[in-house]
Symmetry: C2
Subunit: 252 residues, 2 copies
């Protein structure tokens, strides 16, 4: 679930979320919060959650950008960025001179004709073009209507350059692996709870983690699955069954 | 070949083009000029060619827009347009109220975040979304660099709405059929000459027309094919072998 859905939905779910959050905090489970948020830095994001009453720290939050930066380091890549202005500070310490790859996030108003052409020119000018996409969502809802998400622009650049992007964020295995290695745990020792059957539950299960879907957020009754439970029983189940770890998608 | 490539390329090819043009005009062949131009009306486009010395009339030119308008009429569709400002007058007489389909062309500077969101909202709001794309090109070159073409934005909307666009323009069969019916001819009575192996030659051959590729415009020696000839011999061949008709792609 995105944080910036309609106000009314946001408020109505927060009370349950707060209850769940502190139920988990009281336990001795290790917690990580996985989100595909790419419009703000972790600091901004966590500050917002803290104002809402969540006692959460930056080190517990896993958005795609830091995972991408880890991949850049590992492979000696310097990115050209097409991302939201709010995300830029995450890349402050990253070498962006003479770029040899492109990273796109949910750039929103930065998805200008000129900026897309520029990202394309960087890619087409490379001997081996590498495109990272921070998510592959199609669209999302804001108070003023539906907005196209990063996945749509990823497909555009894929077609233009005849390549396949590497997705970083849920449900990509790279993303879940980076969370697991941060916790120092094996997949079977963890449980992922989320509202999205593909991005949260499917992505986790593909990596060998346990995954359950909750009936909040984007859950719709048509998506029937034996794994669906409500968030409170998911939490109780997690606390009694999983020894020492817990990964959760944000469902506010 | 696009008309607005680099100035130097434009000028160097024009002399050959003029020679070919008048060689064909002198014959008793029926001529039609097929182009994927979607940034200007036929009137503007033809006026430009006339200033360059081509004695050509609007009725001989076949761009995608009029073919799209014919399809709209046939199927009772009212379009939401995401096209170049220069193309809008072609759609003056078309009913655009309460749209039940979307048409995208090479909108260039009009490919704004807001405009793409708007086209997407129209599509996603329809029970049976219909997307027409005036071409499926990936990119083209202008004097100030490479620009993303309409096909890229077509792929973006296809992914967002989980649909397949209907392409109008070369190499789509619908497009070549509309040219053939305008000439009142069967496919085997016509010859298509062009520089693009897929859009010109392939599209025509797929419809049962003869197709030859010339060594001008975007021809590169790596694209070897037994069908490639130079434009002058293509013309001579056409005049001696084809009885009364001739369809040509623009190669200026």
């Amino acid at each position: 679930g995105k944080l910036y859905v309609a106000e009314i939905e946001f408020i109505s779910v927060t009370f349950t979320s707060l209850f769940i959050f502190y139920r988990l905090k009281e336990s001795d489970l290790q917690l990580r919060f996985c989100t595909n948020e790419t419009q703000a830095t972790r600091e901004t994001f966590v500050a917002k959650l803290q104002r809402l009453g969540f006692d959460i720290s930056v080190s517990e939050v896993f958005p795609p950008a830091p995972a991408a930066i880890a991949v850049l380091k590992e492979r000696g890549l310097r990115p050209h960025l097409l991302v939201h202005d709010g995300l830029l500070p995450e890349f402050d310490a990253v070498d962006k001179t003479n770029p040899n790859c492109v990273i796109i996030g949910d750039a929103a108003e930065n998805f200008l004709y000129q900026n897309l052409n520029e990202a394309f020119r960087v890619l087409i000018g490379l001997e081996k073009p590498v495109l990272f996409s921070l998510g592959q969502g199609r669209y999302y809802k804001e108070t003023d209507g539906l907005k196209l998400d990063v996945g749509v622009y990823m497909k555009a650049l894929e077609y233009a350059c005849d390549l396949k992007a590497e997705v970083i964020g849920k449900p990509s295995p790279t993303f879940f692996q980076s969370v697991l290695s941060d916790m120092g745990l094996k997949p079977h020792e963890t449980l992922m709870i989320g509202d999205d059957l593909v991005n949260d539950v499917g992505g986790a299960q593909y990596c060998g983690m346990k995954g359950v879907q909750v009936r909040t957020g984007k859950y719709r009754s048509v998506m029937s699955s034996s794994l669906m439970i409500n968030f409170v029983s998911a939490t109780n189940g997690a606390i009694s069954n999983i020894s020492n770890s817990f990964v959760t998608g944000f469902v506010f």
